[in-house]
C-alpha cells in the first residue's frame, strides 16, 4: 500500500481496487450459485418437513416424511442400488487407465483408434441405454444368442431383479470408461520421460514401472477421474429411466430416480417426500464433496 501514502487525494475506489476487483468478477457467479444451488438446498430441507401435493396447501408434518422413509422398502432398495452403483462404477477408472496405456503408442492410424474408443462418450446416454436394451433383449437380443452358442441358459438381464442393476451399470461403464481413458491419455502426455529413463536404468519394468513410476505421476488425472466417476454414479438417472423405468417392480431404482418418481412423475404427488429423499441424497453427496474439497485444499497448501 506504499503508493497510497504519498499524500495524493485518491478516491476510495482507487485505494481498494486491488481488493474489490476479484469480488466484482466473482459476483455474477456467486449470485447464481447462491440463487440456484445454496438457496434450493435450504428450500428442499424446508419442504421435506411438509406434506404437499404441489397444488394445494402444504401441511407441516415435522419429521414424518423421514419416519415414512425408514419404513419404505423401496427407499432401501434405492439406497442399496446407489451403493452398488458407487462401487461398481469405479471400475471405469482402471479400465480407462489400461485402455489409455494400450493406446499410448505411436503407430499409423492411432488417432482413429483413439477416437473410436472415445466414441461412446460422445453419443447420448439415451442412445447408450437403447443400444444396451436391445443387446439384453431376452427374445431378440444378441447377448442370449451368444450365451446360447456356448451352451448357457438365456437370462433376462433387465427383467431379473438380481441382475438388472448390474446390467445397467455395465451399460453406464461403456461411456464412463471412455471418459476416464481420455483423462489418462492427456495425463500420460505429461509423464516425465527422464524419470522413466531413470527407472529403466534402475531395472524397473512392467508392473513395477507402472506402479512406482507411472501411476504416481498420473495422480492429478486419477483424482479427476475419481471425481467425475463418483458424480456420474450418483447421477445415474437417464440410463435407468430409458432401460427399465425403475423396474422390474422397482428393483433398479436409485435415490434420484425414486425422488423423481414420488414427486414429479405421472403418478407422483408427494413433494415433501421427494424432498426428504433429496435431502438424503444430498447428505451422501456431501460426504464426497467434503472429501474432494479437503483433498484439494491439502494440495493447494502443499504448494
Amino acid at each position: 500500500m506504499a503508493y497510497t501514502t504519498d499524500g495524493h487525494q485518491t478516491s476510495w475506489w482507487h485505494r481498494n481496487q486491488q481488493q474489490l476487483t476479484p469480488w466484482l468478477f466473482l459476483a455474477p457467479g456467486i449470485l447464481f450459485f447462491l440463487f440456484y444451488v445454496i438457496f434450493p438446498i435450504f428450500q428442499s430441507f424446508n419442504l421435506s418437513l411438509y406434506e404437499w401435493d404441489g397444488l394445494g396447501e402444504a401441511e407441516f408434518v415435522g419429521l414424518y416424511n423421514y419416519e415414512e422413509l425408514s419404513w419404505d422398502d423401496a427407499f432401501y432398495t434405492s439406497l442399496k442400488n446407489n451403493v452398488i452403483w458407487l462401487v461398481l462404477y469405479l471400475a471405469a477408472i482402471p479400465a480407462g487407465l489400461f485402455i489409455a496405456l494400450f493406446l499410448n503408442q505411436t503407430v499409423t492410424g492411432i488417432r482413429l483408434y483413439k477416437s473410436l474408443f472415445f466414441f461412446p462418450f460422445v453419443i447420448s446416454q439415451v442412445v447408450v441405454g437403447l443400444v444396451f436394451t436391445w443387446f439384453y433383449d431376452p427374445t431378440f437380443g444378441i447377448l442370449n444368442v451368444l450365451l446360447g452358442s456356448v451352451g448357457l441358459p438365456p437370462i433376462n438381464v433387465l427383467g431379473d431383479e438380481n441382475w438388472v442393476t448390474i446390467g445397467i451399470i455395465v451399460a453406464g461403464l461403456w461411456p464412463q470408461t471412455a471418459y476416464c481413458m481420455i483423462l489418462y491419455l492427456t495425463g500420460l502426455n505429461a509423464v516425465d520421460p527422464e524419470q522413466i529413463e531413470a527407472g529403466r536404468l534402475d531395472g524397473a519394468k512392467g508392473w513395477r514401472m507402472l506402479w512406482y513410476i507411472i501411476i504416481p505421476q498420473l495422480r492429478p488425472a486419477t483424482f479427476i477421474a475419481f471425481v467425475v466417476t463418483i458424480i456420474g454414479a450418483l447421477r445415474s438417472f437417464d440410463l435407468i429411466s430409458i432401460m427399465t423405468n425403475g423396474g422390474p417392480f422397482g428393483a433398479s431404482r436409485v435415490l434420484s430416480f425414486y425422488m423423481f418418481e414420488v414427486a414429479l412423475s405421472e403418478y407422483g404427488f408427494r413433494m415433501g417426500y421427494g424432498a426428504a429423499i433429496a435431502v438424503v441424497l444430498f447428505l451422501i453427496m456431501l460426504m464426497f464433496i467434503a472429501y474432494f474439497l479437503w483433498s484439494m485444499y491439502k494440495e493447494e497448501k502443499a504448494r
Partner: protein, 420 residues
Amino acid sequence: MRSMLKTSAAALAFFATATGGAFADGLTGDLKIFLDTSNPAPRATMEKMIADFQAENPDLNIETTVIDREAYKTQIRNFLTANAPDVATWYAANRMRPYVEAGLFEDVSDLWDGTEIGENLASTKGALTIDGKQWGVPYTYYQWGVYYRKDIFDELGLTEPTTWEEEKANCQKIIDAGKKCYTIGTKFLWTAGGWFDYLNMRTNGFDFHMDLLQGKEKWDSEKVRATFANWRELIDMGAFIDNHQTYSWQEALPFMVQGDAAAYLMGNFAVAPLRDAGLTDDQLDFYQFVEITPGIEKAEDAPTDTFHIPANAQNKENAREFLKYVVSPDVQTWINDGKNLGQLPVNAKSSVDQDKFLEQGFEMLSTNSPGGVAQFFDRDAPAEMAKVAMEGMQEFMVKPDNLDKILARLDRSAKRIYKD
C-alpha cells in the same frame, strides 16, 4: 416468451377493434387451447376440429398449443396455476380429482343441465362428476377387451369363450400348440392394471372393485385373494409371454403379429398398430372379457378423455361454447370415426363409424355392461395408490409366491394414501 408477448399484443389490438365493431355473428375475443394429443393422427383431428370452430367464429382469435402427451402429465400442474389456458385436455374420474380439489378446474355443471348435454352424454356423466358437480366434458372414449388372432383360433378349432372355464380350456389348447395365450408388456405397469380390473370386476363385481380402489375395502381380504387366485391359474399355466416385465405395450405387439401369442387384453387403440403391422380384419377379432363368477353383472373399462376449463382461464364464455361444440352430435361423429380418432363418440345422438371393432365396442358398452363403466385402474384409484398397486401386480405376475408380501405392502400404503 417473445411469441407470447407478440400474440398478447395482437390479441389486445384485436380486442380493441372487436369491441368497437359491435356484435356480429359468432364469438369474439380470445380462446387459448392446450392439447395433449401429440400423436400424429389425433393431432390432425384436433387441429381440423379447431379449424372448423374457427370457421364458424371468424372473429375469434384461437391459439392452440400441442404438448407431448407424456410431458403434459407433469406440465399441467404448472400451467393450471401459473399461465392457464381457456381449455385443456385431461382424463376423467380420479385423474382429475387433485385439480378439482385444488380448485383449478371450473365447475361446468351449468353445461350439463338440460337435455342437450345432460341426457345425450348420460353414459359418461358419472365419470365427470365429483361431489355432485361436473368438472368438464368428455370428447372420446374407447372400449377394452380381448383382441385375438381369429386365424389361430380357427386353426385350433377354438371359438370365442364366454365363461372362465372356456377361456382356460381355450388357453390350454393354445399352449399345447406351442404358443402363448396372451401377450402383454408390463414395463410401464398399467397393462397389468387392465388385467386386474377385469379379473376383479368379474370375480367380485363392479361395486367391490370401486370400493377397493377408493380405499373402502382391504387388499388383504378373501375377495381380493380370490381375484389373484384366478390370475394365478393363468400364470401357472404359462398363459402370458415370458419376460413381459421388459417390454412396453408396443414392444409386446410383435408376439401377436408373428403368431407367438394368440390374444391381447387391450384398449381399442391397439387395433391401429396391429393393422399397420399387416394383420387384416379377417385375422383379427374381438371378444368381451369372459364371465368368472356366474351371476355377477359385467362391467367394462372404458377410459374417457376430456376437456376442462381451468379455474384461472381468461375467456370462460368462449371456452364453454367450445366445449358445447366439441360434444355436439355431428362433431362427435366425425372426430371419432375410423379415419380420425377411431374411437367411440360420447354423444348418444352421434353415429358410430362402420368399423368392426368400434361397432362391437359400442354394442358391448351400450347393451352388455349392466354392472357399470370403469375408467381404468390408474384413473379410478388415486395416482399414488395406482403406482404401488400396479407395481405389486407386475411383481405378482413374475413371482406369484410373493402375494402375501405384496398385499401387506398395499394395505400399508393404502392406510397412508386414503387417510383423509
